[in-house]
């Protein structure tokens, strides 16, 4: 017994030594073998890299598994195998092991764990937690790679916008490959008030521009339709029971007074930031919600309902209006679209359309105003990865035209073909699946599923064949409209719903992009201030929506005074510094 143990120990020691010697030798002999990989620092290949052909990242016949954390994985299921993922592996030799947040978790809980365990995945899309990774040197500077020969596809994709990937003017390194569309035409609006088309039809398709008009439409419709499909009609529904509070309650109170999407802030042209709650317009918006509540037009469960309840109300057509982002209510809208195919289009009228309603008729909606390209977040490469080299080259490959077409269109000869005019077209049976069977399209085929959060080209980009790089063009958008939508649009005399909103001339881009995309760091003075102010404001504002209208003003005065006590002005100064830093950084590039 004892001798066996001893022997095993010796053998293990020997193995360990052999391995370390081999590794040491490997390091010495792995001079760049003319593959033009550039200096990426410390990727230890034991054998000299053999010649790689085509899109291969590892030699023919081998596969390498890279761990990829996708913070948006739960929302956008870029998980598991699919036809496109298999093709990616076949072409590059890279297999992705996708890690997504578990239920109840998100990147802000996962990333600290990765960091403290020293176990950051090879490729990581940390979204809002990217700052944490930077602070702890857990991800590498991508610039040396991007500027090297091997990073050509990333350079080509971003073009002149490359400089906007830089972190800040103090730390101008590039930590992630931004996932925002490059060259993009907005096809839809999102985040503003949206109302059922049946409500507009009932009222005779009026042109409305104020919240008060919207209120009357809802009130009239509710009065004449107290029940929808046997259940009580709900006027406006919101969801205030979790983080969506900010999306459905906080943000709309800025949009309705012509403020751009700057998080909890209103930022002017000079970059000066004011906390939204200190603006009189925010107060008026909340006064409106308070009145809606008082009149019974606001869902009485808005503050406490679960997401399931909220989505169910929209999907069954019971809720007449929402103030939410399209990505949020997308599944509920898809459910109505499906239902409409079965009930002769009646459910299609229960789908939402955006309406440009403001506090005052002379205010201009900003939702269609171009934000200018900003990198926000994107995929980064782990500093502790053993496969940095491969991860970087995979990231570059994902930015290539070949990969962009594969991810957006699928495989030539299987999903699409080029017709006699050289136009890239889906096979008719594939187009059918695309329009009607999202499950097969996204999960089984995986088409469109891996575009986000990798670098992506937008819907106005043409590839080397002269075809749009993504099938989601304006033409396609109009092709997929339902009859109900067409009828509504015809009544307003426009082509798509975005035409109901003002169009901005070129050059009217918001100079700072969107202020919510600025990283403020963790545990900074600003972070601590806002972690105190935000929950307080959400709670107070929620309560004020529910009180009787004659108590509203006194409570709001008191609320503003407390905010100032809590340091709202100091937070504003800090936010202004952050915004001006970005203005400064962007003016240099």
């Amino acid at each position: 017994m004892k001798t066996t143990k001893k022997r095993m120990f010796t053998a293990l020691c020997g193995l360990g030594m052999a391995a370390s010697i081999l590794a040491a030798c490997g390091n010495e002999t792995s001079e760049p073998a003319g593959t033009g990989n550039g200096d990426t620092g410390g990727a230890a290949d034991a054998t000299p890299a053999p010649e790689l052909t085509g899109s291969r990242i590892v030699p023919e016949g081998e596969t390498l598994t890279l761990r990829f954390y996708n913070a948006d994985g739960a929302m956008n299921p870029a998980t598991g195998q699919s036809v496109v993922m298999e093709e990616i592996t076949r072409r590059t030799g890279i297999e992705l092991e996708v890690i997504t947040p578990m239920a109840g978790h998100d990147e802000t809980t996962d990333v600290p764990l990765f960091i403290s365990q020293g176990n950051v995945p090879d490729l990581i899309f940390a979204n809002t937690a990217t700052g944490m990774l930077i602070e702890h040197n857990a991800i590498i500077d991508l610039e040396p790679f991007i500027m090297s020969e091997a990073g050509a596809d990333i350079r080509a994709l971003y073009g002149p916008m490359l400089g906007r990937l830089r972190h800040s003017s103090e730390d101008p390194r590039i930590f992630h490959a931004g996932t925002t569309f490059v060259d993009y035409e907005r096809l839809t609006t999102s985040g503003t008030a949206q109302v059922q088309m049946s409500v507009m039809r009932y009222a005779g398709f009026p042109e409305i521009s104020t919240l008060d008009e919207l209120e009357e439409l809802i009130a009239n419709y509710m009065e004449s339709h107290p029940e929808i499909n046997g259940q009580p009609t709900i006027g406006l529904t919101l969801i205030g029971s979790n983080w969506r509070w900010g999306i459905t309650v906080g943000n709309p109170s800025k949009f309705t007074s012509g403020v751009t999407d700057d998080g909890g802030w209103a930022v002017d042209e000079t970059g000066a930031a004011t906390l939204n709650w200190l603006r009189p317009e925010a107060r008026e918006h909340m006064r409106w919600l308070n009145r809606m509540n008082d009149r019974g037009l606001l869902d009485e469960e808005w503050l406490t309902q679960t997401e399931d309840q909220y989505f169910e109300k929209i999907a069954t057509g019971r809720a007449l209006a929402v103030m939410d982002q399209n990505w949020s209510i997308g599944s509920s809208q898809a459910a109505l679209r499906d239902a409409g195919l079965r009930d002769g289009g009646e459910s299609h009228w229960r789908m939402m359309m955006p309406v440009p309603v403001m506090l005052e008729a002379d205010m201009v909606p900003q939702v269609t105003r171009p934000t200018g390209w900003r990198s926000m977040t994107g995929v980064a490469v782990s500093a502790t990865s053993e496969h940095q080299e491969e991860a970087l080259r995979f990231l570059n490959w994902m930015a290539s035209e070949e990969a962009q077409i594969l991810m957006n269109w699928g495989i030539e000869g299987v999903h699409y073909f080029y017709d006699e005019n050289g136009v890239r077209t889906f096979y008719p049976e594939m187009a059918e699946i695309r329009d009607t069977d999202n499950e097969t399209w996204q999960r089984v085929f995986g088409i469109g599923n891996y575009v986000h959060p990798f670098p992506q080209l937008g819907n106005t980009t043409l590839d080397s064949t002269g075809n749009p790089i993504t099938p989601n063009t304006r033409e396609n958008h109009m092709r997929t409209l339902t009859d109900a939508q067409r009828e509504t649009l015809a009544a307003y005399g426009v082509e798509t719903f975005i035409d109901l909103f003002p169009s901005f001339p070129p050059g009217s881009e918001i100079p700072h992009g969107e202020a919510w995309t600025i990283d403020h760091g963790q545990g900074t003075e600003f972070d601590i201030l806002m972690s105190t102010i935000n929950p307080f404001a959400e709670e107070q504002v929620s309560q004020m929506i529910m009180v009787s209208p004659d108590e509203f003003d006194a409570l709001w005065d008191n609320f503003v005074a407390t905010l100032l006590d809590m340091g709202a002005e100091r937070a504003g100064e800090l936010k202004t510094e952050y915004v001006r830093d970005r203005l400064n950084l962007w003016s240099q590039n």
């Binding site: 403290s116 944490m132 205030g240």
Partner: protein, 321 residues
């Protein structure tokens, strides 16, 4: 039969006690080596998982950074505690923790003992067993599900409000009322843990000498009398030990319940210490600050246990220390 065995146990205890004085510690260890060997794994477990982690408390006195050796850490002294005690949110969280902890303790205490007494009075054995089994099932249901049940029941369109409206009352939006939040958390905890908590009392009650009940019956005592004069005194040591232990846990109430039942609307009454440590510690990567919160909580726990133990001993009970 039972009383006889109890008597012999007392006798054995006494003789052992007198033996201790005579024999040296080594002799005893030699005699009881088997018992000691059996206890060793558990001692090791406690040491490894309860005492070794205390070393991590050093983090609270550093500006701890991950993947950095102990000696390269930067020391911060009591800075984190200074910031902590100056933060108004922290005191709010402390108040909420104490509030819900004490409510949970009191309600849980009376509910479990009361329930155990009721079960104990059931004479039809099969029914008793069924009731007991059903009553502790909620213990195995996750808080996520319990919170969903509670939210659905108490929603404006939920069954409770249907009943209120049916009786002519106005809809109450329970989940957004500040004044009701602690009560809702406490009630859902009572529902979830009463059956489970009663098991230990039932076990203690089973150990009471039936002869005592028979004698009381002969003396003409009714059920209330028997409960009051026999059952309750019989389980008194158990009650005291469990009470002392649960007092120590008053500030250890976790945060799942508060997080799952709470919403932005009730945040100021739901934010408890552990949640605070999460928000202002780990989520901001201020690991040291989070640890400081943990230390504060542990110190409060220990202090409470010592105080209650002292009171118990003073009033003639055995205590746990």
């Amino acid at each position: 039969m039972q009383s006889a065995s109890k008597k012999s146990m007392v006798l054995a205890k006494n003789t052992e006690f007198s033996d201790v004085k005579k024999k040296s510690i080594f002799t005893i260890m030699k005699e009881q080596w088997l018992l000691i060997a059996m206890a060793l794994p558990f001692m090791a477990w406690i040491f490894l998982f309860q005492y070794v982690p205390i070393w991590g408390w050093t983090m609270a006195f550093q500006n701890w950074r991950p993947r950095t050796g102990f000696f390269e850490q930067q020391w911060a002294g009591f800075e984190h505690f200074r910031v902590l005690f100056g933060h108004q949110q922290f005191w709010n969280a402390f108040r909420n923790t104490l509030g819900m902890g004490v409510l949970g303790l009191v309600a849980g205490f009376f509910a479990t003992i009361g329930f155990a007494l009721l079960i104990n009075e059931i004479r039809f054995t099969r029914f008793k067993k069924i009731v007991q089994s059903i009553s502790y099932l909620p213990h195995f249901v996750s808080w996520v599900i319990v919170a969903n049940l509670v939210t659905t029941l108490l929603a404006p369109s939920g069954i409770i409000n249907e009943m209120i409206r049916g009786m002519g009352g106005d809809t109450v939006n329970f989940m957004q009322e500040h004044d009701m939040f602690w009560g809702i958390v406490t009630m859902s905890e009572v529902w979830k843990s009463t059956g489970w908590g009663a098991i230990i009392y039932l076990a203690a009650m089973a150990g009471i000498d039936p002869g005592l009940y028979e004698a009381a019956e002969v003396d003409g005592a009714n059920r209330w009398r028997k409960i009051w004069h026999i059952t309750l005194p019989g389980i008194r040591p158990t009650i005291i030990v469990l009470l002392i232990m649960s007092v120590g846990n008053v500030v250890n109430i976790g945060f799942e319940r508060q997080m799952l039942l709470g919403s932005p609307a009730t945040r100021s009454v739901a934010h408890v210490l552990d949640w605070y440590a999460l928000d202002f510690g780990i989520n901001m990567l201020r690991f040291s600050y989070g640890t400081a919160v943990g230390i504060f909580r542990s110190v409060i726990s220990i202090t409470l246990v010592v105080i209650v133990n002292f009171i118990a001993k003073k009033s003639g009970e055995s205590g746990i220390m």
